[in-house]
Symmetry: C2
Subunit: 213 residues, 2 copies
C-alpha cells in the first residue's frame, strides 16, 4: 500500500509516518520508484505499536526507539526480554537538593531500606540497577514527607508487584515460538504499568465510594 | 523564616516558590511588611509535598493545584479522599482515529469487556467514571494490537490492583484523627502508583534475569 493508505488505516498523519521513518522507529517500505515506497501489514502493526507505546505507554520518541531497536535486534527470547526491560524508562524523583549532609544521611537510610526489601523478597538485581536507584530516590523523598514506608509496610506492596511481574512474564514468554514474540513482549512489558495503574485507580474509586456511601 | 531560608531548607528556588504562591499551590506567609512575609514549618512541608507530587508523582502544576485545593477545602475525611481521588489525572490512550465504523465497533467491544470486569470484581463505579473511560480506551488500543487482554485474563490483574487499593485505603484512613490526614492521604493515594510501578519494574528485572541466567 502507499503511504497515504498506511496513514488512513492507522490514523497516523503522513508527516508523522515520515518522522518515525527518519527517527528509525519504522522500517523502510519496499522502494517502487525513486520517491515511492510500498508498505505492508507489518508497517500497520508497527505504527499501532508506536502509537500505543507513546500514548498509553507514555514513552518518549527516544525511549520508544530504544525499545523497538531491542525488538529488531533480538536474537533470543530471553535476550529480547532483557533488552526491552532495560530500554523502558524508569520513573524517578528529582535529584536531591538542600543541605548536603542531611541529604547523604537520608539517601543512606533509603538505600538501606531498599536493600532490606530486596533481600526480604529474594530478588536478584544488581546494586547498580536503575530500578534500585529509582526506588531509593522515591523512598528518600517519601521519608522527608514523614510518609510511613518502612520495609515491613513496603513488603506488602512488593509482594503484589511480584505477582504482577510473574503474570507479565508468563504472558511475555508464552509467545516464545511465535514470530511476533518480540512485539507482544513489548506490549506486555511496556503497557503492563499503565494498565495496572488504570485498574488500581478503578479499584481506588470503588474503595473511596464505599467509604463515603 | 524568610523566603530565602524556606528556599534553602527545601531546595526549591525562590522564583519557584513565588510561582507556586501565584498559582495557588502554596498558602501565603504571614505578612511582616509590605514586601516581606514570614514562613513556617507548614510551608516547608507543603513545598516538599508539591515537589513529590510534581516529580515522583508526575503531576502537572494544574493537577497538583487541584489535589491541594481538595486538601485545603476538606471538611470530612471521606469527602477529602473522594476529592483527591477525582482530582488525580487519569492515564489515557489517544482518541480513536481511522475508520469510524471500525472504531465504534472496537469501542463497544472494549466497553463490554470493561463492564464485564467491573461486574466480576463487584466494583461500584459510575458508568461515566473517568477511570472506566480510560480503561476502555486502553483496551480498545490493545485489541488493535492483537494483545490478549480478555476479561478472564484481566481479572487476575484486577485482583492485584484491588489488593493494592485496599492497602492504600487502610493507610489513608489510618490518619483519620490526625491534623495531617489530608496531606498524608494525598501522599498515599497520589504516590502509590509511581511507587508500585518502581516495585513492579524491580520485580520484572528479577524475573527477566532469572530467565536469562
Amino acid at each position: 500500500m502507499k503511504i497515504s493508505e498506511l496513514s488512513r488505516r492507522t490514523g497516523v498523519p503522513v508527516a508523522s509516518i515520515k518522522y518515525f521513518r527518519r527517527e528509525g522507529l519504522l522500517p523502510a517500505g519496499r522502494a517502487t520508484a525513486a520517491t515511492l515506497a510500498e508498505y505492508g501489514d507489518e508497517h500497520v502493526q508497527r505504527l499501532r505499536l508506536i502509537k500505543a507505546l507513546t500514548t498509553l505507554g507514555g514513552l518518549s520518541i527516544a525511549a520508544a526507539r530504544d525499545v523497538l531497536t531491542a525488538v529488531d535486534q533480538s536474537e533470543s527470547a530471553d535476550g529480547t526480554l532483557k533488552a526491552i526491560s532495560y530500554a523502558l524508562p524508569v520513573p524517578v524523583a528529582q535529584a536531591p537538593a538542600g543541605d548536603a549532609d542531611e541529604e547523604a544521611e537520608a539517601e543512606a537510610a533509603a538505600a538501606a531500606d531498599v536493600a532490606g526489601l530486596i533481600a526480604a523478597m529474594g530478588w536478584q538485581v544488581p546494586d547498580d540497577s536503575p530500578h534500585v536507584q529509582g526506588l531509593t530516590t522515591a523512598l528518600r523523598e517519601l521519608r522527608r514527607l514523614d510518609a510511613d514506608y518502612r520495609p515491613e509496610r513496603l513488603v506488602h506492596y512488593a509482594e503484589l508487584a511480584h505477582s504482577v511481574a510473574r503474570l507479565d512474564m508468563e504472558r511475555a514468554a508464552a509467545f516464545e515460538n511465535s514470530p511476533t514474540l518480540a512485539e507482544q513482549a513489548v506490549i506486555v512489558l511496556a503497557l503492563s504499568g499503565p494498565l495496572l495503574e488504570l485498574l488500581r485507580r478503578l479499584a481506588q474509586e470503588d474503595q473511596v465510594r464505599r467509604r463515603s456511601a
